[in-house]
Each structure stands twice: as C-alpha cells, then as structure tokens.
Amino acid sequence: MTVSERALNPLSSMTWRRPQIVFTLLTGLTLIMMVLNVGIGSIPFSPLEIWQVLVRPEDNSTISSIIWNLRIPRAIAAVFGGAYLAAAGLLLQIYFRNPIVGPYILGISSGATLMVSFVMLTTLTVGWSLFTPFISTLAAFAGAYGVMLIVLAIASRVKGGVTLLIVGLMMGYLCGAVTAILTALAEKEKIKGFVLWQLGSFSGFKWNEIGILLVFGGGILVLLYLQSKPLNAFLLGEEYAASMGVNIRRFRLMILLCACALAGMITSMAGPVAFIGMAVPHMARLSFGTSDNRILIPGACLMGALVASICDLIARTVLSPVELPLSAMTAFFGAPIVITLLLKQRVKL
C-alpha cells in the first residue's frame, strides 16, 4: 500500500458512512414526529385513522377536516419552519464567521416583527381585505432586509464577533420599542392577534401558505445547495475564498438575500421563533461531524425540521388545552445547548 493509498482509503470510507447514518436517523425521526404531530391533540388519532383519511381525501367528515386543514398543515409548517430557520442560521454563521449568530440574534426577526406589526396593527385604516399572508410576508421581508442592511453597515466598520452580537441585540431592542409603541396605539381587538402571533406558532397555516413555503423556500434551498462549494471556501475567510476564485461580492449578496428571505418568510407566517437558527447548525455540525456544507445544508434543514416538530408538539400538548408559545419551547431547548457549547469551548466567540 503506498502512502497515498493509506491516506485516502480510511478517509473515503469514514466521511461517507457517518453522514448517511445520521441522515437516515434524522429523516426517520422527523417522519415519526410528523405522524405524532398529526395524531396527538385534543382529539387523538391513531396512525391507522390518519392513514384512512390520507387515502380518502374526498371524505368530508370532521376527522378528515381536522387532519387535512389543521393537523397536517401545522405539521408541515413546523418542518418547513425549522428547516428554513436552521438554513438561515447556518448561512449567517458562515457569512459573519461567528458561531453564535442567527436570524433572531442579529435582529432580523425583530425587523420582520416590526414591519408585520405595521401591517397587523394598522390594517384598520387599509381594510381587512389587504390582510393576506402575501402582504405580511412582504412586510416581513422588508423588515428583515432593512435590519440586515443596518447591521451590515455597522459590521463593516467594526470587527469582532461580540460587537456584532451587541449591534444585533440593540437593533432588536429598537425594533421592539417601535413595535411596543404601535401595540400601545393599536385597537384592542388587533392586539390579541398580534401578541399571539408574536409568541410564535405554527398553528393556523393555510395550504396556500404551505405552497408559498414549498415553492419559494424549496427554490432557495436548491440554490443554496449549489453554492455549498463557495460556502466551504468561505469557511476559511473572505480573503482565502477570493484567492481560490470565489466572486466575493456576488456571493455575499446572494447569501444574505437567501438568509433573509428564509428567515423573513417563516417570521411572517409563524412569528419570531428564537434559537432554532442559532442552535440547530451547531447540533448538525456536531452530529454529522463535519463543516462540509454539502452535508450541512440538508443536514441542518433536517435537524431543524426535527427540532421544530418536537418543540411544537411539546408546546401544544404539555399544558393542553392551553398552547404554550413556541419561542418559549425553542428557548428552553436552545439556550442550554448554546451555553453548553460555549462552556465546552466547542464554539468560540
């Protein structure tokens, strides 16, 4: 065996075995969680009942209606929401070369919240008919990109991860302040809906919203996967990436557009959801044992889908019939993980 063979063989077998196992596990668990999410609730359904409803969609029974119009959209929304937030977090962590950033931390979610609050709390002046997922999605995008632009402008002047975090937190506070003022000025019946939305929830998703998520989000994910090579190069920093042939300006723009689109889309529909974008990429990195984005992009999406499904299930079942806020669940789940990672020095600020 020559030197090069010795060096190559264990590697080719090692790198491809672990991701495949983890992918299979994650996919299986996510599917199980989806079935549980459809089955568990105030009216529980057995997998058999679910199957019967699934194969006979034209049935107009109450069971069919609950499963088709409430449970399944919600289960799918949790999967998409978790996946897209995780992908957005992964992108931002690579972009800022900072392991502790995520859409929520950087204020992207707060910006989206602010703009959505304009739409939701001031719609009386415009009329109910305008309150469609479409307009609040656009508003969320505008808010996400707006905050991102401000954070970027400041980040280009100051170096250092901690500064970036503080800038993000401050943006969050500012957006929160404006949102609070709008809430104070808004009419009472608007506030309840907005406050519920603000707590974050995958409930109430319509099929057309699922369609938007699938088409746009799916398109962005495919685009991202095709960018995993420059994303890998970018792990070495901008200068190395440029020296290897990455068109930095175009690449940077694309990554930010994608990250904000994914995070903005979910925030507009499910409300601001904390920690998934920050914690899940780390969980994916550690469980797949790699930083290779060809594995991590689908890997983080699957992991995010699983985590969001679990959090949503807990949120709506633990104190049923009261539904707990989703962001509370993800925070219970994500904050200890981030602290553990920091203490174990798996990630550095």
């Binding site: 060096a7 090579k229 890998n232 920093g237 200068e239 020296s243 290897m244 042939g245």
Partner: protein
Amino acid sequence: MSTSAINPVISARRLTVGYKPKPVLKGLDFDFEAGHFISLLGPNGAGKTTLLRTLSRHLSPLAGEIRVQGKPLASLRAIDLARIMAVVLTDKIAPPLFTVFEFVAIGRYPHTDYLGRLGEVDRNAVISSLAAVHAVDLAHRPFADLSDGERQKVLVARALAQEPQILLLDEPTIHLDLKHRVEVMAILRDLCRSKGITVVASLHDVDVAAKVSDRVALIKDGGLLDWGPPETVLTPEAVAGLYDFDKAEFNRHLGGIELRGDGDQGRAFVVAGMGSGALVYRMLAKKGFAIATGVVHTNDLDWYVAQSLGADCTSVPPMAKVNGSAMVRAAGQMAECDFVIDCGFTVGPVNQANMKLLQSALTQGKTVFSLREGGLPSLTKSDHNRSIRCDDAMQLLDALDRFSARNELHPKALEA
C-alpha cells in the same frame, strides 16, 4: 529601481499601494522572474503586507499597473487567477471539524466541479501537496488540533493544492518555533527550486532571507529602498538603515546579526586568531565590555566577528606574519585595557608574535584569563598569580565576574 527580467511572472509599473485615501508605498517598479524566491524585507508597518495584498488582488492599487504573466491583474477572472496564484495569510483561521485532508482539499477549488467533488486527480494532488510539506502523516488529524508549525505547513499545502505558479506568503515563519521555522523555509526553497514556483514572501529574518532568496526587496519609508540579489543588496549599512539598527550589525559573510554591547563595563583585550575569538567576543559584548583585539588576519573568522561587534581590531593581511608595526599598535591597545583574554588559539609560524603579546601583558602586570589548554606558560612566579586559567567559557565567565566585582570595573557608575 527596476531590473528587467526576461520572463517576468509579475511586473509592476508606477505602482502605488495603500488604503484609500492614504498611499503606503509609492512609485514601485519591479519585475518578478519566474521561479525566483523573492523576499520582501522591512520593518513592521512598512507596507510589506499591503504590497502582498495588492499583488493578490485583495486590495486595488491606488495607481499604476500590475501584470501577471503579461496580463493585467485587474482583468483576470477570479477563477483564472486562482489557478495561477495562491496565498498563505497570517489570519488565524480555525474552521471546526475539518480534517487536514479536507482542509487541503478546499484548495482544489479552482479545479473541481460545481459541487467541489474530488476526483482521482484531485485526491492525488492533495496528497502530493501534503507530501511537499512533509505532512502526509497529518492527513487525518483534525485541523483545529494542529500546532502552529504544523498548521503553517498545512496552510502551504492548501495553497499548493491550487497548483499555482506563484505563491504569495505573508510572514510564513512568524510565531513558529525554530524547528518549524527552518523546516518551512526549506520547504519554500524546495518548491522554488524543484517545482519552479515563484515564491514571494514577506520575511522578518534578514539572515534567513539572505540565505534563501534570489531577490530581496527592501521596503521602508513609503517605497522600495533597494531591490536585487541579497549578495549585493544586503550590505551592513543597508540592513542597519532598513531596521534602524543602532547596536547591531548584519554581517554578510557570517550571514547573521551581531549584537554590540554598551562597552561600559570595562575594557578587554582579546588575543585571538584562527577562529578562537568569535565566541569570546560575543560573550564580552553581551556582558557589556568594550573590546580590543589583535593581532588577527583579515580573512579570519575572528576578524569578521570583531568588525561587526565594533571592536578595536589590530589586523594583518591574510597569510602575513604578524609584524612589528601591528605588534606596536596591539601593545598600545592592550596597555589601555583592564584585563587580557587569551583565547587559546593555535600557535603557528605566522602568529607566534601573539604569544609574545601575552607574555608582555603579564610583565606589564595585566591580569590574563587564559582558555589555553594547560594554561599560559608563565615566566616568573609573580606572573602566576595574574594568569588565571579557565578550562571553558563557563569558568571564564565566573572568573570575569569575580574580577569585575573585585576591581569595581564600572567606570560610568563611579563617575555618576
């Protein structure tokens, strides 16, 4: 300051580099010849890194033009430039969860498909890049666990995986221990010699640069002070000017930097020759003694070291017999000294007079420290007390310390 090369791989004309709006280096004209090892020397902050960053297109030139292989640098596509030029930067990068193999494989970027999948050619290129830096055995180690020296070698391997014709390195040996410093420089020299890669490196060790470079560029005060082969460019004066040396001198013949002492601890006369004095001079300079020495030949190692240390050196031409006038001068120097050191030089037909010098030191009542095996032959009994035999440098040091303490050889301290 321009040297036209037959086959310039990088050429600059009226180049001004810097960060807008402030230029760091102005009016640079140079041609880097293919396969040369080019060192950029200069004090910290002189602009070496700025120049490298401009050559690698991380910074745009403020004025002037750079051509790479005859084509304007600005017009090259990023991917085409990446196949010609690779860089090793000083940034501390620690991407998590990468094995060394995977890390080096990222360097295949300009050669792999749209997903960056490695083919057989790519794998072999990664292994041969690792082999070129003697790091094949590191292939499966996590990149984050490497020592500074290992990491630097792997960074060079990553650059080599691009299969570049030009390699730009910013301070490639900074923060490295001696073993890795020597190893990395040897690797870079081999890349240059055997693979014909043009290596452009900013270095802080002028002595190392002198030994490996085909061309050196001295960078200071906003421009190129001098540019050419180190053998002609690196004069003691040029190096002293470049780094603002005061108490040090670069010696081309010795290939190193000699550090002068303050010379305020008393004055020593060293009788040396045949290379016996070099270490003694350095030790005395380190201890702060002023040095006078003689009589040595001007082709003697001792002469070069004494010159660089600023000693009062009485010398005779090569092969010449130590004669009367040199003896008179040396004796005069010796009379003004506080003590005398006999370095234990081999006595031959041309330097017998130096033994006479030592004897006369004893007769004049000077204390003589002798490193000579068996000690200095003494003429009278009283001589014996003043001739102190030292078997090695350690004993000489101890004897000198005792002597200094007893005789209070601190003229400056006394005056104050």
